[in-house]
Symmetry: C2
Subunit: 296 residues, 2 copies
Amino acid sequence: MDLKKYLAEKKRVIDGALEKYLPEVEGPARDLVRAMRYSLFAGGKRLRPILCIASAEAVGGRQEAVLPAACALEFIHTYSLIHDDLPAMDDDELRRGMPTSHKVFGEALALLAGDGLLTEAFRLLCSGDLLAHIPPESVVRVVELVAEAAGYKGMVGGQVADIQAEGKPADKETIDFIHSHKTAALITASVVAGAIMAGGDSGQIEALRTYGKGIGLAFQISDDLLDVEGDTEAMGKTAGSDERKGKATYPAVVGLKRSREIQNKLVREAVGALEAFDQRANPLREIAYYIVRRKK
Amino acid sequence: MDLKKYLAEKKRVIDGALEKYLPEVEGPARDLVRAMRYSLFAGGKRLRPILCIASAEAVGGRQEAVLPAACALEFIHTYSLIHDDLPAMDDDELRRGMPTSHKVFGEALALLAGDGLLTEAFRLLCSGDLLAHIPPESVVRVVELVAEAAGYKGMVGGQVADIQAEGKPADKETIDFIHSHKTAALITASVVAGAIMAGGDSGQIEALRTYGKGIGLAFQISDDLLDVEGDTEAMGKTAGSDERKGKATYPAVVGLKRSREIQNKLVREAVGALEAFDQRANPLREIAYYIVRRKK
């Protein structure tokens, strides 16, 4: 299959749906929605929504049916980036080659744009657009799953560990905790959510959970590696910033060579977990390999 | 009925449930959960969860059945206070007589504690504890309702309008928008959510929505009035701070006398909306009158 074409086509569909689910507004909420949209349309790869759709399709589901949930996952990812970039957090001025939210809209509006995206994600997950296709029993399972992955037991917990590890010598256990919570948790939930909504059986859901955990961690390791080896222009953010900030990263803890070995092993195991799936899981397999070779 | 006793008893039950739903943890999330709990147990009145329970009981529902949802509403209210107090927002050092979250835990942890509470609220709304009593069809309606009330079309939108109105001469339309979005939206959703979960019919739900809007706005007006006339010690926050910050308030726009008149009218209309309800709605009626006379 042509993965590049696949990813571009999915991104086009997702961008259209995001536009539908967060249109510009007039009136007192105009600036807030403008700030929410600025970060939402700042050139993301749409990895989480694509994984959600690809997972649904791998168990026989339809893209249209899970699209609102896929968009909700991108809302949550975008909120986390906005809050992560704030001066009180990573204090980043550049994201995907563009000024960060608080640089454009000020800290208060950036903070509230993040809050607005997170909250709207859960509204979208329980909106009529999703419930027209997915039974409420599955929707509540997805909300619980996604909220747990995004919350203090998942992504937010990972953010705290990330901040607390800054400037200290990190060990493998710490970096595994940070990466599996800060990044892999929401990626795993995206994959599992797609399978739940599409009516996958418990064996399929468990296999996809294993796949999600593997590629989620591999994805964060490639982020770490790109920060060391990557090109500032291609990435749209400044290379080497992890080291300057004293961030706990895989290369810093286990070295470049071992990081690549671990990453390759994770991807092999992720693809291995999909053994029982037919060719409809090929996009998931290709995405796993893509994660290792991506340049931005 | 003895409202004071009623409120104290409900608060006791809710505090017990909050303790159950957010216990202390060890490990990397320890400090985060500590920060979440610090604000959650900082002496709130539990107005939103009490309204949710009282509304459920007014249509024949049971307190135990809606308790997880009631707690989720308090999580959302608490998150909004933490973010509202941040330096980039209202920059408050004192809340309910205690140092605000960022004063105790630093800005990063305060921000993430808010994010964690908001996200956990939605997990709790779709948790097995609620679904053991409430059908998933009702749960998804409640999530959509609460998320809309808390998000950019509701509370977050009101926060933005509040900030943007600061230091400018406000008119009645602006102050009505701010108060109805920043405060009344989540209070209304709390009341309506209780009725939906308890299986209230559409007539009951609409009557309770009218009640919620009325007392929600009346509650924010009493907040404004207390800031002018109240006692710093009783309130646990500094009186007169709205004027110093140039906040848009009812007294500033329409004067003290007219503010009290509007407030009394709102409460009369709110209680009037409950005409068709029997004595099980007495707590809601009493809470409406209490909102006008409260001293903190």
